[in-house]
Amino acid sequence: MSRRLAAGASAAALLALVRPAHAQTDFYNTDAGRPLTIEDAYPVERRALELQAAPLRLERALGGTYRWGIEPEMALGILPRTQVEVGLPLVYVDRGTSRTAGAAGVDVSVLHTLNVETLTVPALALSAGALLPAGPLGPDHAYGTLKAVATKTFSNARLHLNAQAAFGPGLSLASEGPVSGPVGGNTLELSRWLAGAAIDRTFPLRSLLVAVEAFARAPVVRGEEVEWNAGLGTRWQAAPRWTLDAGAGRHLTGDDRGWYVTAGAAFSVGLPWRAR
């Protein structure tokens, strides 16, 4: 594989599959990528440990390239309204004639919710994350992201706003010029910025949530235009400890209007505790 191709594949995998992973068991607490890119402002509960057991993702991008990903993650509610999270995305890129597989970095993040929603104030959260070099498809350098999230609940729906910016030496990837094509899907980290909104509606007696989103992002790759995306997804509380999610999305702009589908299952337990 040529060096350029390798770089392209690596970046593509990276862009497609690695997201700040604020996994939450509760079907009502959406999480970036589970199922939508745009998430809500709430962390996992304090003292909860959540495991993303089988988070699958299939994406089709330009040229019939199929990418498969499995993204084990764990999130921990370490402090009131605060979670830390670690993810290890594993990626398999199938370009037909060539295939690549491996880890695509290590993802760590912390999310802190400032307040609980009241009649006058939406819930607000701040998140900071880093993608660290690891694995054959991981980045060469560490990247950082900062993100602000707001959630406002109406009687019949919730509205979520996300705004995010990236920084770090990894942005020098852009100096290599455009990769072989635009990358599809749920690409957050290596956007110069990302902003979007999601609306979800809950069917509380069924413990089911359905959501739609639209967001814009500026890819770091030089020469790319602002890219618009749309997605829809659902989360369902299958059992008290188990949440299932599924989603799909598509690019609305650019030459290649790629799509992706996701499916996942999260399991949660509490931390051990003993009275002092």
Partner: protein
């Protein structure tokens, strides 16, 4: 860039607060339940009862949301429409998992998130106590130890935990806003009291049973009793708030702290209903009144009573006014009058019994229609019906195992003999 700004403004518009309301900054946080091997045992072993509690979550939440968001709605909205939906749909096909109450009562949750989370934290204690008491792997000492752990964990959240000191009924019933809910919505109020009857009553069969089959049977009986309360509302509903020491006396004697917390919890449920239902409390004051009541239910000083006074008060309120006891109401099974698996022979033309080819009638007293030793425990109808077994004996008499008399026979059993040719 102008377009971006316009989009941003459009997106942010819904977040701008209505000018009339003062800004509220709340920071109460959620906490996971105590991790333990008994987690979800009750759900696993008593599915039908557990699901009812999921349905109760919905009932409590839709009540508050409706009272807050539809203050001018006619009483029929809750008394008929929501009541019918709850009793004919939600309770009949209850949800499979505990519900996300914030999704049912989003506006109430915004009004008083602190009070909402007090309920949630106490409901977690409720659920986890069922788990402990339902766990057949724990002996009595193990259950006591785990209940103590649960209460200690509950106490780690003083911002949410109800006081373990009993509160006077004055806090619930004699405030300026009191009684508004029960007066305007007697059916819904009765339904909530029936919920509370089952929520504390179900501990009792779990505590008093001496074996797993007894526990299983006892829980079913208590659940059946709950359904009986729905048959003729509001007459068949409790007429007073069910007090834990009256409805579940064995549970309350063994775990008084939990019983007190639940009585305080259920009191505060009624208090918030009254605050929301009472037009004399202006909408701008409702949050403040709720938070004031919540603080009183958390502290150990407001409106407190001694435990003895609490027990006396519960007794004086009258168990008969609270839906009755949660155990020992179901009569015993009828005492059989033949040996197990006895084979009676019959005249094929008339169906009349002609004798026994295996086994025999139980108790010689049957022979002469004299009352056997356990006749007082027999269905009343038996004594007035001719005894078809009289005078018959098995060809080869086998040892007669005397059946244990059933402790509580039905007062009256339908007589299948009536109208049949003897």
């Amino acid at each position: 860039m102008r377009r971006s700004l316009a989009i941003a403004a459009l997106l942010l518009a819904p977040f701008l607060a209505p000018a009339a309301l003062p800004a509220q900054w709340a920071r109460v946080h959620e906490q996971f339940y105590l991790q333990a091997p008994h987690n979800w045992v009750f759900r696993d072993q008593y599915q039908a009862a557990d699901r009812l509690f999921n349905a109760f979550d919905y009932g409590h939440a839709i009540l508050y949301e409706t009272l807050w968001t539809r203050p001018d709605a006619p009483a029929a909205l809750l008394e008929q429409k929501e009541y019918d939906f709850l009793t004919r749909k939600v309770l009949v096909k209850p949800p499979r998992v505990p519900l996300e109450e914030a999704a049912i009562e989003p506006k109430y949750a915004q009004l008083a998130p602190e009070a909402k989370q007090m309920f949630e934290w106490a409901h977690i204690l409720h659920r986890q106590l069922y788990d402990v008491l339902a766990d057949e792997r724990l002996d009595a000492a193990g259950k006591d130890r785990e209940v103590a752990r649960l209460l200690a964990y509950y106490r780690t959240r003083p911002d949410l935990a109800f006081s373990a000191r009993p509160k006077s009924m004055k806090l619930m019933q004699e405030q300026p806003y009191s009684l508004a809910f029960r007066r305007a919505y007697p059916k819904f109020n009765g339904l909530i009291w029936a919920y509370h009857w089952l929520q504390v009553g179900l501990y009792e069969p779990l505590v008093v049973a001496r074996s797993q089959p007894e526990r299983q049977a006892g829980v079913r009986a208590t659940v059946a009793r709950f359904w009986q309360m729905l048959a003729d509302p509001p007459r068949s509903f409790p007429h007073q708030m069910p007090m834990t020491p009256a409805v579940a006396p064995a549970f309350s004697a063994r775990y008084p702290e939990a019983a007190i917390v639940f009585d305080n919890l259920h009191s505060m449920h009624d208090v918030i209903s009254d605050i929301l239902a009472n037009d004399a409390v202006p909408r701008s004051r409702k949050r403040a009144e709720i938070l004031l009541a919540a603080a009183r239910f958390r502290d150990d000083t407001s409106y407190v009573m001694s435990r003895d006074a609490w027990l006396a008060m519960a007794g004086h309120m009258g168990i008969e006014n609270m839906g009755g006891p949660a155990v020992n109401f179901l009569p015993g099974l009828p005492a059989p009058t033949v040996t197990y698996g006895a084979v009676m022979t019959h005249d094929d033309r008339t169906g009349a019994m002609t004798g026994f080819s295996y086994g025999q009638a139980v108790g010689g007293g049957h022979a002469g229609h004299a009352a056997p030793a356990d006749s007082a425990a027999k269905p009343a109808a038996r004594t007035s019906a001719p005894d078809p077994h009289a005078g018959h004996h098995a060809p080869a008499p086998a040892p007669t195992p005397a059946p244990t008399p059933a402790p509580k026979p039905p007062a009256k059993a339908p007589d299948p003999h009536a109208g049949h040719k003897p």
